[in-house]
């Protein structure tokens, strides 16, 4: 089966996010004073073939741990969905 994984990577909460900070300031300077916090991370769409969603789960978790993120400063979540073709 073909699976699309949507992976969301963010810095751990305790880690400084300079981009998020700069964007928060910028939004305040525009007219978005209602914003209290911005965290900026990475969004990845990975298409892969797998035997099952469980199998895909294992693969995606593996690639996040090994390559796509660094657990020292980042954390991740992901969603899987079957796609055609």
């Amino acid at each position: 089966m073909n699976v699309l994984a949507k992976i969301f990577v963010t810095l751990k909460d305790s880690v400084l996010d300079p981009q998020g900070k700069a964007v928060t300031h910028a939004l305040h300077a525009l007219k978005y004073g209602a914003v209290s916090d911005v965290r900026i991370g990475k969004y990845m769409e990975v298409t892969l073939s797998a035997n099952s969603l469980d199998d895909a789960d294992r693969l995606v978790r593996g690639m996040c741990d090994e390559l796509l993120t660094n657990p020292v400063i980042e954390k991740f979540t992901f969603e899987l969905m079957e796609v055609s073709q």
Binding site: P18, A22, V23, A26, A29, L30
Partner: protein
């Protein structure tokens, strides 16, 4: 000719631009802080290189909301000369003063080297001292200089001579569409370029080819102003 070199938090080629201007065209040039709202007394406005606001989010994205950008828009509308270098080019595209966008370099790496450029249009206010198709050496130093425009816009730019500089074809350092290194607006008074002419103003720095860009601007300005 009176020149403003804008300073945003995170600009870092502002002083270099100022030095180059003093050295090349020896005119009245000064630094102007990003909170300024009136640029009406300046004939040339240089938006210098650097990392305004850390280049966070996208290069130039946050700086375009600085108060001074409104004044830049007004100056552009009045036909004053505006030169965006590197981060300045990124800011001008983000602000919509120039078409297109600058993406991350195709190599995904920052690239600093002396690059060879072809002067694709030698008849602008910024390039009249070059010969068309001349090859010049001007340094680049950027991580997001990969120019993008869609095909339709690219054709229009080509037809109207708005593509001013290209990297020599075998040495496109960043993946830019059509090797584009610098573009000008339709009216011909706003130029944005990734390479740094202010870094090519003496033999010691490895090239003097940037001198004539500043000289061109001065000459154009003289042409439209009565000399005392």
């Amino acid at each position: 000719m009176k020149t403003a070199v804008l300073q945003f938090p995170g600009s870092n080629c502002d002083i270099d631009a100022l030095k180059a201007l003093h050295h090349t065209v020896d005119t009245m040039a000064e630094l102007v802080w990003h909170t300024t709202t009136d640029l009406s007394s300046y004939d040339l406005i240089v938006v210098p290189g650097g990392f305004s606001y850390g280049d966070y989010l996208r290069a130039g994205a946050i700086a375009r909301f600085s108060p001074v950008l409104k004044a830049v828009q007004e100056a552009a509308a009045r036909g004053r000369y505006i030169l965006g270098i590197c981060n300045g080019f990124q800011i001008l595209t983000e602000a919509g003063l120039l078409p297109g966008a600058l993406r991350r370099n195709e190599s995904l790496q920052f690239r600093c080297e002396i690059s060879q450029l072809v002067v694709a249009n030698g008849h602008t206010a910024f390039t009249s001292e070059y010969t068309e198709n001349e090859i010049i050496n001007i340094p680049i130093a950027h991580g997001e200089g990969n120019y993008y425009v869609d095909d339709e816009t690219k054709k229009a730019l080509q037809e109207r001579g708005q593509i001013v500089f290209r990297y020599v074809s075998e040495h496109n350092p960043n993946g830019s569409v059509d090797g584009i290194a610098g573009v000008i607006n339709e009216r011909g008074n706003v130029l944005g370029m990734m390479p740094h002419p202010e870094r090519a103003v003496s033999k010691r720095l490895g090239s003097e080819d940037g001198l004539r860009l500043f000289a061109s601007i001065l000459k154009s300005w003289r042409g439209t102003h009565v000399l005392h």
